[in-house]
């Protein structure tokens, strides 16, 4: 499958574990056949609608469709959603039948893990799957909000984006940020905004070795050093 070969090259390691950084923003652990996605923010449009800001109500469908493509590419044994999977509980409960059906179809035949996030301390009642605060993958802790711990960690929450300088211009794209011990994942949701990786929120998390931004392009993930990144 050529799609995988192209993407498998775009990987990195945390401790002894190898990961493949997918262009969709998902992370795949081949050994466990585990697909990790962060910050789906399902039903964000509906949450805004409650405040009478009427954004196109297709964000949940768009996010699930993209997740569906990643699932089809990797055929994971399990999917782990790393928190803020639902933008808020009330709007989550409003998810329409078609979207619920797509989610159920994705879940069928595989394990599903909802890690709690600040937006969704609990997954909505209709959503099947295991719920937990953190998840352990070998020596790595998976949690929503990055911690200051020294240990290996995969987290979301911060929605990292890199502003990359090229010869004559700049791009702002979502990215994985990793230093070999910690990885902060890009937000996966269609309406999720982004925080520049040079923002001070990232500074205490990546103090040590060389930090690399794995920037999501259209067809590939590009490995960019922070020296090529610019503040907003």
């Amino acid at each position: 499958m050529s799609g995988i070969t192209a993407s498998v090259e775009q990987g990195f390691s945390l401790g002894d574990e190898d990961f493949c950084a997918d262009v969709s923003g998902a992370l795949f652990h081949a050994g466990e056949r585990l697909l990790i996605v962060a910050d789906l923010h399902l039903q964000k449009g509906a949450a805004f609608a409650e405040r009478r800001v009427l954004l196109p109500p297709y964000d949940t469908a768009a996010t699930l469709a993209r997740l569906g493509e990643a699932v089809a590419r990797y055929q994971p044994r399990a999917v782990l959603a790393l928190g803020d999977s639902f933008h808020d509980a009330r709007a989550g409960a409003l998810m329409n039948t078609a979207d619920r059906a797509s989610l159920a179809a994705l879940q069928s035949g595989r394990e599903w893990i909802w890690v709690a996030g600040n937006h969704d301390p609990e997954a909505p009642a209709f959503a099947d799957g295991l719920q937990c605060q953190t998840y352990r993958l070998g020596a790595i802790t998976l949690r929503h909000e990055p911690s200051q711990d020294r240990g290996l960690e995969i987290a979301g929450h911060l929605h990292p984006v890199a502003r990359v300088a090229a010869a004559k211009g700049r791009l702002r794209r979502r990215c994985f940020l990793s230093d070999g011990a910690r990885c902060v994942m890009p937000a996966f949701g269609a309406y999720a905004g982004g925080l520049n990786i040079l923002d001070e929120a990232f500074a205490p998390l990546f103090t040590g070795a060389r930090t690399i931004a794995h920037v999501l392009g259209r067809a590939n993930v590009y490995r960019i050093g922070l020296e090529s990144c610019r503040p907003d």
Binding site: S13, V53, G169
Partner: protein, 865 residues
């Protein structure tokens, strides 16, 4: 001497005119008697014809005739101007005749700057005459007290009508006038306008359309004396390309010296900065030359305007920001640097000089390059003929309609059919399809989405009487925060701060009270002229588009506000700059004030080129250039399209000369390169000027034509405007920017997104993300249609391109040359120095992506195993 008697005019007015040694002019009296008979009217008059007084005479005479003891009878006349400053200025100017005649008339201005307490009082206790802007009128009409406030209204006076009706602000104003007619059926309108191509369009605009459609009456003031127009024959060589004035700066300076006061018009803010800088670099006499353009801080612009009004300035270098505005009696010379772009635009600019009708305005045209010399000549001829080429009337925008519908509900509950009838009585919406109205209504209510997902969150819904009303008071509050049609592109404040590394140069203070309109001269190192350091959080100089600043790295220098500044960095959404000592700034290329060459003028230029007998009036160097072109290639003709191909370096060039303006050429370039890519000609890039388009390829274009593999006719076939256009448009950054504007105007997103200030960027939703989702799931959504209409008309000039492609069908002349032709040189010189805006942004994205790929290739990521 006996005083002339004007029966139309009350005695106190005749006496007032006579006391000043004036006589009322025929058009002023005509307008007065039309107003007496209850008719709306359009007054077309050149500047200096007493237009404003003409507009207010009917109101002043009516109010003067009120019984002496009556207290205010409510709001009588509303004056609407596109410029805040003009509303304030007219208020001031009305005070004089009112005081001198001892009239008891209250005049007040109301703009965004008016204190809230006064605005509240104005609603409660309105003046007789209120002077305001289209946005403020919309806000007044959306208030719950609109009906009683406007019930007494007798008249609306609209200033600078020709300018207002060309934009979305005009759409909004037209809708608001339709509403005013409802509140005050007795109300009549006086429109004040400069000369336009088709007066009937404006006459319809002033009157209700639909069932009883008619036109406002027309009053024409006599034209002023013909202008004294000439083209500068610069002492120095006329450049091949560029739009600058460095070759002519000594001549311009000399002309400024001979005149009392000069307005120097340029077409872009970047040119304004450059010309201003160049003039000061030779300003041996320290003439008071000031700078005025839209990026400068508003208070700075006000200071320049005030200095001008007080007669303190010798010249102002300005952009279209001064095309309209307060009349300055003392201006006796207008210099237009660069291309005039259109006959009407030039006439209006010339009209800014000498406001005495009987004396000719004096104007000097300074071409920036050889093509512009042709354009200047064509414009001088057109102006002598009194030709007009203002753009055709626009169709009302759907996003503005959405804003208006919500505003209507904020004022009071409405019936959909009644509102539709009212909306279609406004000229821009006269042909609005009922289905489009319903789509707009649906958008306002629940977002207009196919799923009907947001029923429960409707912003407006029907009550038991079938009337639409807002769901809650917060909706009206949000609407008020978002009224208006001007959406700035992402602008960053430019703030002057202390340079990071302190420079070891002596610093000299500026003269006390010195301000930016006298820049310190660019001195050599021995004459450090700039003031000392300013601390962080210093003065705001103005605003610049974010995308321009993104092209700079810290330390890069650019011209702004007449000074060379260095970027220190971007912090918290502001660009921090310091004064630089560099003499070779990187000139800003922000896009302010780019007008396309008018179709009319383009046609005249084509005719001029193709008829050597008319060349006698052109500068010698231009004639030589054209003669050489005729010898080595051929001249473009009035109706054909000339295409030249030639090899140069490693590349093969195709240069076409459609003369349809930069926007249309850019669109053409984008579409042609897509097509050439499919034909495997390997196009590498293109560059568009106002007159020509150059594309370069790795494959031999002429060879492909010779072998029959390529036909120019097929390459330029009209069908490129079908799928190719749509496909490209959908992906383009331009469409995303246009969508953002529409989304803000229509009220899909708020100008200041909730929570933006408080919580940082990861919670905000960029409109790009919304655009991507909406385009995939509901491509026919009303806002996508609105954005597409805007892009096609305003930014791509698709209509013009379409007319051109139809015109040249079967009329393509292909010259296969061995080397570059004289005519091709100007556009070839533009290669590589295209400003960073519009389509060029796409190229940057592509470049950046390529760099990413390169980077990825060099440093393979992941484990090798």
């Amino acid at each position: 001497m006996t005083r002339a008697v004007f029966p139309e005019l009350p005695d106190q007015f005749s006496a007032w005119f006579a006391a000043r040694g004036w006589e009322p002019r025929a058009h002023q009296l005509e307008l007065l008697s039309l107003a007496r008979s209850g008719q709306s009217a359009l007054l077309i008059a050149p500047t200096g014809a007493g237009k404003t007084l003409a507009g207010f005479l009917p109101t002043l005479t009516e109010l003067a005739a009120r019984p002496a003891r009556t207290r205010s009878g409510g709001l009588h006349t509303l004056y609407v101007s596109p410029l805040k400053a003009l509303a304030v200025d007219v208020a001031r100017n009305l005070e004089a005749p009112i005081a001198q005649m001892g009239l008891r008339i209250r005049v007040e201005a109301r703009t965004g700057d008016t204190p809230a307490s006064r605005r509240q009082r104005q609603r409660r206790d309105p003046p007789d005459i209120l002077l305001t802007t289209p946005e403020q009128l919309a806000l007044l009409l959306g208030g719950p007290d609109a009906r009683p406030l406007f019930a007494t209204l007798r008249r609306v006076v609209l200033d600078e009508l020709h300018a207002v009706t060309q934009s979305k602000r005009g759409d909004l104003l037209a809708l608001d006038l339709a509403r005013l007619r409802k509140h005050a059926p007795q109300m009549t309108i006086i429109g004040l306008s400069a000369t336009v191509r088709d007066a009937d369009e404006l006459r319809r605009w002033l009157a209700p359309q639909g069932k009883d459609a008619h036109m406002a009456a027309l009053v024409k003031a006599p034209p002023g004396a013909p202008a004294d127009l000439s083209m500068l024959d610069a002492r120095e060589r006329l450049p091949w390309s560029g739009h600058g004035a460095s070759h002519a700066v000594h001549d311009i300076y000399a002309a400024i010296k001979t005149a009392k006061t000069t307005l120097v018009f340029v077409n872009t803010r970047a040119q304004a900065e450059a010309v201003f800088q160049q003039l000061w670099s030779i300003n041996e006499d320290s003439l008071a030359i000031a700078l005025h353009h839209g990026s400068l801080d508003a208070s700075q612009r006000r200071r320049v305007e005030e200095a001008m009004a007080q007669g303190l300035l010798k010249a102002i270098v300005c952009t279209s920001t001064l095309d309209l505005g307060i009349d300055w009696g003392d201006v006796d010379l207008v210099i237009n640097v660069g291309a005039p772009k259109g006959a009407s635009r030039l006439t209006q600019r010339i009209g800014r000089a000498n406001h005495r009708l009987d004396e000719p305005s004096r104007a000097l045209l300074v071409p920036g390059n050889r093509f512009e010399a042709l354009e200047c000549h064509a414009a001088i001829e057109a102006t002598a003929l009194g030709a007009q080429d203002t753009p055709p009337a626009r169709t009302g925008a759907l996003d503005v309609l959405c804003q208006h519908i919500l505003g209507s509900a904020c004022a009071e509950p409405f019936d959909a059919d009644v509102l539709f009838a009212e909306v279609t009585s406004a000229e821009p919406y006269a042909h609005l399809a009922h289905s489009d109205f319903l789509a707009a209504l649906d958008f306002v209510a629940t977002g207009g989405y196919a799923l009907g997902a947001y029923e429960r969150f409707a912003r407006i819904r029907r009550d038991k009487n079938g009337l639409w009303r807002i769901a809650n008071g917060k909706i009206a509050q949000t609407w008020r925060m978002n009224v208006g049609t001007i959406v700035e592109s992402d602008m960053l404040k430019v703030r002057l701060v202390r340079a990071r590394a302190s420079k070891a140069v002596a610093k000299k203070s500026r003269p006390a009270g010195g301000s930016l309109y006298y820049p310190t001269k660019l001195g050599g190192p021995s004459r450090p002229a700039y003031t000392g350091p300013l601390a962080r959080g210093g003065r705001v100089l103005g605003q610049i588009e974010e995308y321009f600043l993104e092209t700079l790295a810290p330390g890069d220098t650019f011209l702004f506000g007449g000074e060379v500044l260095a970027l220190e960095g971007i912090f918290e959404g502001e660009a921090y700059v310091s004064r630089a000592h560099s003499q070779a700034p990187k000139v800003p290329s922000y896009a302010g004030g780019k007008f396309p060459l008018s179709t009319y003028l383009a046609e005249r230029v084509r005719k001029l080129i193709s008829s050597p007998r008319q060349w006698s009036a052109l500068p010698q160097q231009v004639r030589d250039w054209l003669s050489l072109q005729a010898k080595v290639s051929r001249l473009p003709s009035a109706n054909n399209l000339l295409i030249e191909t030639f090899p140069r370096g490693e590349r093969f060039y195709l240069v076409a000369y459609p003369f349809e303006g930069r926007l249309a050429h850019q669109t053409l370039g984008m579409l042609l390169t897509r097509r050439m890519e499919r034909l495997e000609l390997m196009p590498q890039g293109f560059v568009a000027s106002e007159y020509a388009l150059a594309i370069w390829c790795l494959r031999d274009v002429a060879g492909a034509c010779a072998s029959g593999a390529l036909s120019m006719e097929a390459l330029f076939d009209e069908d490129m405007l079908g799928d190719d256009l749509e496909e490209w448009l959908q992906e383009s950054a331009l469409m995303k920017r246009t969508f953002r504007t529409c989304a803000v105007i229509a009220g899909m997103i708020e100008r200041r997104f909730p929570g933006k200030e408080k919580t940082g960027r990861q919670v905000t939703i960029s409109t790009d993300l919304i655009y991507d989702v909406l385009r995939r799931h509901q491509p026919d959504h009303i806002l996508l249609r609105a954005a597409r209409d805007d892009a096609a008309t305003g930014l791509l000039d698709v209509a013009r391109l379409s007319v051109m492609l139809a015109r040249i069908k079967g009329r393509i002349m292909h010259e296969a040359l061995n080397r570059v032709s004289p005519l091709a040189v100007p556009v070839m010189l533009e290669i590589g120095r295209e400003p960073v805006y519009g389509q060029a942004q796409d190229q940057i994205l592509a470049q950046a992506a390529a760099a990413l790929v390169e980077d990825a290739m060099q440093k393979p990521t992941g484990k090798a195993s």
